[in-house]
Structure formats: C-alpha cells, structure tokens
Symmetry: none
Subunit: 244 residues, 2 copies
C-alpha cells in the first residue's frame, strides 16, 4: 500500500523548536517523509547546523533535511503560516482548545483543503514548548499516554501526527487485492466429499452427534473464506489421505 505524494501536504510545515539531539531531528525528517511530507523548519538547533547525526538518522528522508529551513527565531518560523497546532501534554491553564490527535487532524485537514498553510509545533526534548509559544497556537493536541510513562519521544509524537493526517488523505482511496472466494457450490462439494469419506471411516458413527459435528466442521471451513484454489487443494488432500 503506497501513497502518491499529496499536493495538499506541501502546505504542512513541521517546526522543531530548539531541538537538542541531532538523532531526533533526523528521525523526524525520516518519519515525515515516510508519510509524504517534505516541509521542515528548525528553530535554533542546539548543536548547530548541519548535523551529522541528523543526516544519519534521516536515512532515505535525507532530502527533507537538505531542504529544511533553519531559523533563529520562533516568530520567523510561524509568521507566514495560517494555522498553528501545538503538540503539548496539557493546556497549562490557558483558555485553549485541546484535542486528541484524530480530532485535531480533522481540523488541520480542513485547513489545508482550504488552502491554508499549517504549522505543527514540536517542542524541546526536555522542556517542551514555552507558554509564549503555546499562546501562539490555534489548537493544542494531546496524545493520550500511560500515566506510568507519559513522555513520548518527539519523533514518535511527530509520527502520530503525520500518520493521522495521511489517514485523512487515504480515506478517499480504496485498496483491495484479495483473491476471489470459492463458489458456494464448490465448497459444498468439498463438504460432501469429506463427509462421505468420514462416514466410511466411522468417524461420524454416533448418529446423535453427527449433525452437530458436520455443522462444526463446515463452519471451520467457512471461516477460512477459502479461494477456489484452496478448495481444490483440500480435495486433493482428502483423496491422498484416503488412498493411503
């Protein structure tokens, strides 16, 4: 299952705010490219730029890093955008809407469909986003995590946002490559074949139980949603076993 790159995704900007570890920058670049995004902005990376560790971890997403914009202020990173989503565990007593990822992404998809440019803010590894940065957001997104270990790595949080947006895009597409199932008639012939052989063996000799047993055996085969080829194979198996 592969997606073509969506034009709409070019309106989504992932923004790393003062990231500390090159590894995380690289992992973010990789995962956004996995889901068809290409726009990355990095505000004042702690260890300077370029960063060898970032390139290593970006793997095949290195092209996203190469074309990333490095900025020296948060304001510059958001100034040309229309809608800002901040990923944050809580609203810190601000009057801000906080949504779960799927709902937040619904909103984002609506925004990009209406030609808006959207920024996704990803905070510092240790301290997250400052109150000032959160204030600038239109919407906060909170990923529900376990109380015993709530803190997600930023590349993992990014993964969830990118994945959820790409799901919105995919809802339009229908995939199906399943083989067609056997005709009911062929399946019935298989049942009769097996049951006749079993009758001869005495396996179904207790008459009181016979009907129920046959039902159970048929059910088992029906659950398998067998293809034509599988029905043929199975009839071959029965013949082979009996011949012996």
């Amino acid at each position: 299952m592969r997606n073509k790159h969506s034009k709409l995704f070019e309106q989504v900007y992932f923004i790393l705010v003062e990231p500390q570890l090159g590894e995380n920058i690289g992992a973010v670049a990789r995962v956004i490219s996995n889901f068809g995004f290409t726009k990355l902005r990095i505000v004042s990376p702690r260890d300077g730029w370029p960063n060898a560790k970032a390139e290593e971890l970006a793997a095949h997403g290195k092209y996203v890093l190469k074309q990333a914009t490095i900025l020296d202020s948060f304001q510059k990173a958001i100034s040309d955008l229309n809608f800002i989503l901040a990923t944050s565990a809580n609203s810190r007593d601000m009057v801000k809407k906080v949504e779960r990822p799927d709902k937040a992404v619904n909103k984002i998809y609506k925004m990009i469909s209406n030609k808006n440019k959207v920024g996704i803010l990803l905070g510092r590894e240790r301290s997250g986003l400052t109150n000032e940065e959160i204030v600038s957001a239109d919407l906060l997104m909170s990923i529900p995590t376990s109380s015993s270990n709530p803190s997600l790595n930023i590349a993992q949080a990014t993964c969830i946002v990118a994945y959820e947006i790409s799901k919105m895009e995919n809802k339009k597409i229908i995939y199906s490559k399943a083989e067609s199932m056997a005709k009911k008639d062929d399946l019935m012939k298989l049942f009769i074949h097996l049951e006749n052989e079993l009758l001869k063996t005495g396996f179904l000799k207790i008459e009181a139980k016979r009907k129920k047993m046959i039902q159970n055996i048929r059910n088992m085969f029906i659950k398998a949603e067998m293809t034509e080829q599988e029905v043929r194979t199975f009839r071959g198996i029965i013949s082979a076993l009996v011949k012996r």
Copy 2:
C-alpha cells in the same frame, strides 16, 4: 490526558524478531510503555543481551526491557499465543488478509477482549520478516506510507500499533463473546500431523513444489482462526481418514 494501565494490554506481546540495533530495541520498549503495554519478547538480538544502547534509549520505559523475555527461536516466541499480527508492507502473494492499522487493531482488541493472547511481530530492520514467519500470522497489517520513502523505522511502526490499540481502549467498545483460539503450538502440531501423513501418501512428492504447498495449506488453516476444539476435531479427521 492520561490513561490508567489497562489490564487487557497484558495480553499483548510485542515480538522483535532478530533485531539488529540496540537503539531500536530501546525505542520500542519506551514507546510501548508510553501507551501502557509491558510485554516484550526478543528473538535472538544480533548484538547479544543485555544491550547498553537499548537501555539508554528505553529511558523511562526501562522496566519493560528489564522484564523482556529473550528467546532463541521464533517458534518459542509465539507458541503460547492465540493470534498473531505481522507488520509487513505486503502479503507477498500469499492468501492472507492485509488490513490498515485501525482495522487490524479492531481485530486485536476483539481478540484480547475474548481473553486471547496476541503477538505483534516486528521484523528485522533490513529484511523484515521471512515468508515462514509471515505464514504463521493470522493477519498482516500494512501502514500506508509514501512511495518516495516507504520504509518506517520499527519503533515508529510499533508506535502506530500501540497508539491505535490504546485508542480502542479509550473508546471502550465491548465485543460479544467468542471462543478463544487454539494456541499456536497446538496448531503447529496439527500442521506436522497433516504434513507427515501427506508425505507418506506422496501428495507432497514434488520437492520443488513442496514448500509452497505446505505454506498454502497452513495459510488456509490459519485463516480459519480455529478454536482448540476445532484443532482436536481436525486431528481426529486426519486420523480417521488415514486409518481407512
């Protein structure tokens, strides 16, 4: 938004098959614990065990690593489980159901609600899962990614599965009761029983085709999601047919 640890999640086993990098093992431990999971099995980690890099990357999820089970064979890692999900990009021309994450997880949630133990297979970084490993799965899950960079890091793939299962928990859906599935070990014994009998009959005599045929036959049974009782019934059927 914090979740309490769900009891049901104790029936979910994440299984790393021959992982190469300690960093990835650690990142997987961290992210499953982020979503409230604790069960990790590791089959033959390339760089031995324990692994310092794994511990570093696990961060606050280190307790998951400490209680992880290290195994020297794939079969041992799945033998006591009832339902297996494999994460794989494609079905490799096998007759296997392939689902998107949200649908796959629906199935998993139903399974754990009915007291089944579920395994989530995560393949090697470079080469993924072998055909033999994929055959043993009840369901394949494919995460739709970009054609220009389709390959997700395993900790990111794990993140998506864990996140989607935890979403189900938040929806609190109740499923109707179903019988629990047979253990993989019992299913394997059924396969061996049938294949041994077929070998004696000459049904599998063309060596070039044997492996593929066995794969197809196993697949057909796996699709049936057999209960313990059904496995017993089927072994009785084989014995009866042969005796004749």
